[in-house]
């Protein structure tokens, strides 16, 4: 499941994952949607943008982890968001990638999170 408020980013992450053979089961544009859809879809992996309207990615991670402590969330962050990424990890995110995305780094992180 891909969570990002920018269609551009969702498309790009989706392409990277699909080309590597993953299936995208859902997308969310806000943190609230992300939490809702996680409950419905129970995806194997969530990519989570940090800055989103309604509920930010960090709060969404917190909610999702509360619901499912085993949830595998990969944070997608921009340069300069170090402190936020740390907060996301504290909230339960398993790993992170930094924009601009290099497909190889995204896939490496995905593999690590999926163990």
């Amino acid at each position: 499941m891909i969570c990002d408020d920018a269609i551009f980013m969702r498309t790009m992450v989706g392409d990277i994952l699909q080309q590597a053979g993953f299936e995208i089961v859902g997308e969310a544009e806000t943190g609230v949607q992300a939490v809702e859809k996680y409950r419905q879809l129970r995806p194997d992996l969530v990519t989570m943008d940090i800055v989103m309207p309604d509920m930010g990615g960090i709060d969404a991670v917190r909610e999702i982890t509360k619901f499912d402590p085993q949830a595998k969330v990969l944070m997608c962050s921009a340069m300069g968001q170090q402190a936020l990424v740390v907060e996301a990890i504290q909230a339960g995110a398993k790993d992170f990638v930094v924009k601009p995305f290099q497909p190889s780094r995204v896939l490496e992180a995905v593999q690590r999170v999926l163990g």
Partner: protein
């Protein structure tokens, strides 16, 4: 990459860094041999460089790269800090600021940075060891401390983790590695500290003292799951406990560490303050909504009073309380500390003093005082004006000061303080003060006063200065006195519902005090009626109210005065002010108005109550109706004008 989304974040962060750069430059100018300002400069410039490269802003990246190169030389002691270097650095900081603004606006091409780049390169070349390789100084972190700490680690083993060199967000990756290590056992100590991971000195190697029962292979596997890990080395306390842990983390002599910053508390998991960034527009929307709600509450209260139904009254009272709490909460969320604006003033003062050949010791106090965000934005320019005025017209040149028996360096202070529901901002200088004779001569020239009015009080003389277009500057300088004097400040402050008070003593200095309401938009007001019209008087200026009895009005020199207890106050009539015919019938009420230490009584037909009013933007001052500062809508939906008390006294 969808950079537009990050442009704003970039801008905000860059501005924070620019502010840090200017502060560090001023500090460096004061203490040219100090190390910390250079370190701070380097870090801020480095951050800007990294961010701009990601955003694809090559102009900023080039500039900050050259600046960083020069700063690195300074940091290593290969380039002395002298006046010409400071000029180059200040100039580069200014160019950087413009480059950031223009790049974010998509107009980077409008700026020619060639000159700045050349100046930076020239300054780098003039270093003592131009070909020096950058083997930066070893980390100043205390060895002793580390050894002491690790001596206490006892049976802990040491894991040295090195990240791949081009790992993005190395600090966070290292943090993740520490988090992974926690799943293996208890962490005794890490080096560098978790808090220092964000510093640009972090070289990607982290040493973790860990108490665990896990085997080497498991440790290796778990640590590598943090990603981007180049090597994992595990050393167990063997025959000599503690000795291994005490060795430098990246042993074998590869001391290629940049000086550690230590200030990067960003990464520390401490959470005393949890902040989010909110778009100012959202807060404005909330403020507008609460304004409408306050007006509606007024209407509700009136209706409830008319219907006089106990349960309705109770509900309205409860709703009113909630609205008040909500209003309070929203106003508080809009408050920001003064330093957000004051921060740029030391630089402004320094530049102005240099341009005018004056020496200034600038002191700022009360930076932590909070003010509504929208007011803070508005007050910046007037304060800059006051500061420049003080340097230009107030403070003398070092020679003049010596002749006057003063120390050559002038004192200029900017203070902010809370006073009840107002914020008081004061600019004080110890310069030559306002020249009474020149003001009088100029006022006469402008036809503001008749000649020979030597009997004006100092206060009246000073108030002449605040008249529109008044300026006694002998020559127009670059900085101030372009025919826009104190009156510009006065107009601006009045539009914000504030007042300006000027105190000056010839030869010893001038003090200008600006009083502002803590928040715009919603104020408590007294409602006064004359004829069919209701006017609002902000409570900040109301001293007291009284019934008007005819025997308390006296005539002095043909003017009405009010005798109130032992005081005699000038008396004005709101009917005169709004140009309504006088009322024959006696009675009415009087409001005692107060601005600074001036007081006056004002006669109104009737006082109809108090209300929270929402000030609506209004260009009254520009249109010449200078007795009103704004308009509002009352509880019954009727508009009312807000009296500008300071213009009445």
């Amino acid at each position: 990459m969808d950079t537009a989304r990050y442009a704003e974040l970039f801008l905000t962060e860059s501005q924070d860094n620019l502010s840090a750069i200017n502060h560090a430059l001023l500090e460096l100018e004061r203490r040219p041999t100090a190390r910390e300002p250079v370190g701070a400069l380097f870090r801020a410039v480095h951050t800007v460089k990294g961010m701009s490269a990601t955003m694809g802003y090559s102009v900023i990246a080039d500039l900050s790269h050259e600046l960083e190169t020069l700063l690195d030389l300074v940091r290593r002691g290969d380039r002395d800090v002298d006046a010409s270097l400071m000029d180059t650095l200040f100039g580069a900081a200014d160019t950087l600021e413009r480059a950031i603004e223009l790049s974010v606006a998509g107009r980077a091409d409008d700026l020619d940075v060639a000159e700045t780049l050349t100046a930076l390169r020239a300054a780098s070349k003039s270093s003592r060891t131009p070909d020096a390789e950058p083997p930066a100084a070893p980390a100043p972190r205390s060895r002793k401390k580390r050894a002491a700490k690790s001596a206490a680690t006892g049976s802990a083993l040491t894991v040295v983790v090195a990240l791949e060199p081009d790992t993005p967000m190395m600090g966070v990756r290292a943090y993740l590695a520490i988090e992974r290590a926690k799943t293996l056992g208890a962490i005794v100590h890490t080096s560098p500290d978790v808090g220092a991971l964000a510093a640009d000195g972090f070289d990607g190697t982290i040493t973790i003292a860990l108490e665990t029962s896990a085997g080497d292979d498991e440790i290796d596997r778990v640590m590598r799951s943090a990603g981007s890990i180049a090597t994992v080395r595990v050393s167990r306390p063997g025959g000599a406990p503690g000795r291994v842990a005490a060795s430098p983390p990246n042993g074998n002599g590869s001391e290629a560490r940049r000086p550690s910053a230590g200030t990067a508390s960003e990464l520390a998991p401490a959470r005393q303050h949890r902040h989010i960034r909110i778009d100012l527009q959202r807060l404005d929307t909330l403020m507008n909504l609460i304004g409408e709600l306050v007006i509606t509450r007024g209407r509700l209260q009136q209706l409830a009073a008319i219907l006089n139904d106990p349960s309705l009254t109770e509900t309205v009272t409860q709703a009113s309380r909630l609205v008040a709490d909500l209003q309070d909460g929203i106003m508080t969320s809009r408050m920001v500390p003064m330093w957000q604006v004051f921060d740029r003033f030391p630089r402004v003062v320094r530049d102005a003093a240099r341009a005018l050949g004056k020496q200034v010791d600038f002191v700022v106090e009360g930076q932590e005082i909070e003010l509504d965000r929208s007011l803070l934005d508005e007050i910046g320019d007037p304060v800059v004006h006051l500061l420049r005025n003080a340097i230009d017209h107030g403070l003398e040149t070092p020679d003049e000061r010596r002749r006057a028996g003063k120390p050559p360096t002038g004192r200029l202070s900017l203070t902010a303080a809370r006073d009840r529901s107002a914020v008081v901002i004061r600019v004080t200088d110890d310069g030559k003060g306002i020249d009474r004779d020149r003001v009088l001569a100029r006022a006469h020239e402008m036809g503001l006063i008749e000649s020979g009015r030597g009997d004006l009080t100092d206060d009246e003389v000073v108030r002449l200065i605040a008249r529109p277009g008044f300026s006694t500057a002998r020559e127009v300088t670059d900085l101030s006195g372009r025919g826009v004097g104190i009156d510009a400040v006065h107009t601006r402050v009045r539009a914000l519902g504030g007042t300006v008070d000027i105190r000056s003593t010839k030869g010893t200095g001038t003090s200008i005090t600006v009083r502002l309401p803590v928040t715009l938009a919603i104020v408590r007001a007294l409602l006064a009626r004359v004829g069919d019209e209701t006017y609002a008087i902000p409570m900040t200026h109301v001293n007291e109210t009284a019934h008007l009895e005819l025997n308390t009005i006296r005539q002095v020199k043909g003017r009405d005065v009010l005798v109130l207890r032992n005081d005699v106050l000038p008396l004005l009539h709101l009917r005169d002010v709004v140009r309504l015919p006088k009322r024959d019938a006696g009675g009415g009420q009087v409001v005692v108005l107060e601005v600074a230490d001036r007081r006056a009584g004002m006669v109104v037909d009737e006082l109809t109550g108090q209300q929270e009013i929402v000030i609506k933007p209004f260009d009254a001052v520009k249109d010449g109706l200078s007795v009103f500062s704004g308009a509002t809508i009352l509880g019954d939906g009727v508009p009312a004008l807000i009296l500008d008390v300071s213009s009445l006294l």
